[in-house]
Symmetry: C2
Subunit: 203 residues, 2 copies
C-alpha cells in the first residue's frame, strides 16, 4: 500500500474496522465510493454523523430514539399494560415489522453471560424491575433470544419478578418455541424438535 | 420500520446501497456505528468525504491519486520503460504489494465487454496507445484478468499495438497462467490445468 494515495488507504482502514468487513471487502467498498456520485457518498457520510449526533436512548424502554420518551412509549394507541423485553434494538425492529405486537418494549442491551462477564448490572434488568414495580403492567413477554444466554437471562428476570416484586397479577410469558415457518422437519435440530413436541397444540 | 428513528432508517438505507450489503447487514453496521465511539464514526464519515474531495485520476496512467502525475509516475527510481496494463486501481494495489514490479502502470478502468456494451471508447485503450506511440517504452505487460473479457481486451490492445503503432522493438507480454500457489492439482479447473501444461518449464 506504499504508493496508494493516503485518503484511499485511510478509508480502506476505516471500512475494515466494521464488523464482518475484511481488507478485501474494505477495498471494494472504497473503490465503490470512489466511483459513486459525490452526492451519494455525502449522504452516507452525513447519515453516519447524524446517527451519532441525534440518537439517544429512551429513558423508559432504552430503545434508540431521537426524542425522549421514544415514539413507541409516547404512542397512546399502544397497549400500555404489556411490555415485551428484548436484548437489542434490532429485535424491536423485527417485532415491529410483524405488525402484530401493539404493546411497549424494554431493551436490555445484551444478555447475561457468565462466561463473558456480563452480569446483572451490565444490562437493563433493574430498570425493567423498577418499571414493573410501578404496578401498571398486566403482562411481561420475555423475548430474549432462544439459546443458553437468552434463556438464562429470561430465567433471572422471571425470578426477579417473582421473588423481588411479588406482583401476583403480573403475567410472565415467553415467545413460542417450535419449528420455524418454511422449515423442514427432517433438518430441524433436536432442541427445536423437542420444544415443538412439548408445545404441541390440538387442531 | 414505521417507529424507527429516521436517522437510523436513513443510515440503514445508505449502507444497503453499498455492493454486497443487504438490509440485514446494513442494520448490523448501523447498530455497530450507534455503539462505536463518536471519534471512530467521525473518522469513517470524514474518510468517505476526503476520498471524494481529494482523489483524482493521474493524467498519465489513470490510476487514482491525490497529485497529478501520481507518485508512481513521478518516481524516478522506477523503470520508466515498462508499462503494466491493468483493469482497475485495485490491481495496481495487488501488484504493488508483491514488491516485485518496479515499472509504471496504465489503468484501463474496465475491460472490453461486447455483451455489456463496453467498447474501446469506454476504457483507456487509446490513451495507452498514445503513451506507447511516444516511443520511450521497451515492454508493455498486458495484465488484464484471466478470462474472456480480460483476454479479449488484451488481444485488442495487442492488435492495436501491432497494426496501428508499428513499433518493432516494443515487447508485448502477459502474466504467466498456471496453478496458483498453495492450490491442489486435483481441484484445478480444466482451463487452468491446460494453461499450466502448455506453459510447463524445464527444471
Amino acid at each position: 500500500m506504499s504508493d496508494v494515495a493516503p485518503p484511499v488507504a485511510a478509508l480502506v482502514e476505516e471500512f475494515s474496522k466494521l464488523p464482518g468487513v475484511g481488507v478485501k471487502t474494505a477495498q471494494r467498498l472504497t473503490f465503490y465510493i470512489l466511483r459513486s456520485p459525490t452526492d451519494q457518498a455525502r449522504r452516507l457520510s452525513e447519515a453516519i454523523m447524524r446517527v451519532k449526533e441525534s440518537i439517544i436512548y429512551c429513558s423508559r424502554c432504552f430503545n434508540i430514539t431521537e426524542t425522549d420518551p421514544c415514539s413507541i412509549c409516547r404512542n397512546g394507541n399502544r397497549d400500555q399494560e404489556i411490555i415485551c423485553v428484548v436484548e437489542e434494538p434490532l429485535d424491536v425492529l423485527a417485532l415491529e415489522k410483524t405488525g402484530v405486537y401493539k404493546g411497549l418494549y424494554h431493551v436490555l442491551h445484551g444478555a447475561l453471560s457468565p462466561l463473558n462477564n456480563v452480569g446483572r448490572k451490565d444490562i437493563r434488568i433493574d430498570e425493567l424491575l423498577k418499571r414493573l414495580a410501578e404496578g401498571s403492567t398486566r403482562e411481561v413477554i420475555l423475548a430474549t433470544n432462544p439459546g443458553f444466554e437468552g434463556d438464562f437471562t429470561a430465567d433471572i428476570i422471571k425470578r426477579g419478578i417473582k421473588e423481588e416484586l411479588r406482583l401476583p397479577h403480573l403475567q410472565v410469558t415467553s415467545l413460542a418455541r417450535g419449528l420455524p415457518l418454511g422449515s423442514d422437519l427432517e433438518y430441524a435440530d433436536e432442541g427445536t424438535l423437542s420444544r415443538a413436541l412439548e408445545g404441541r397444540r390440538e387442531l
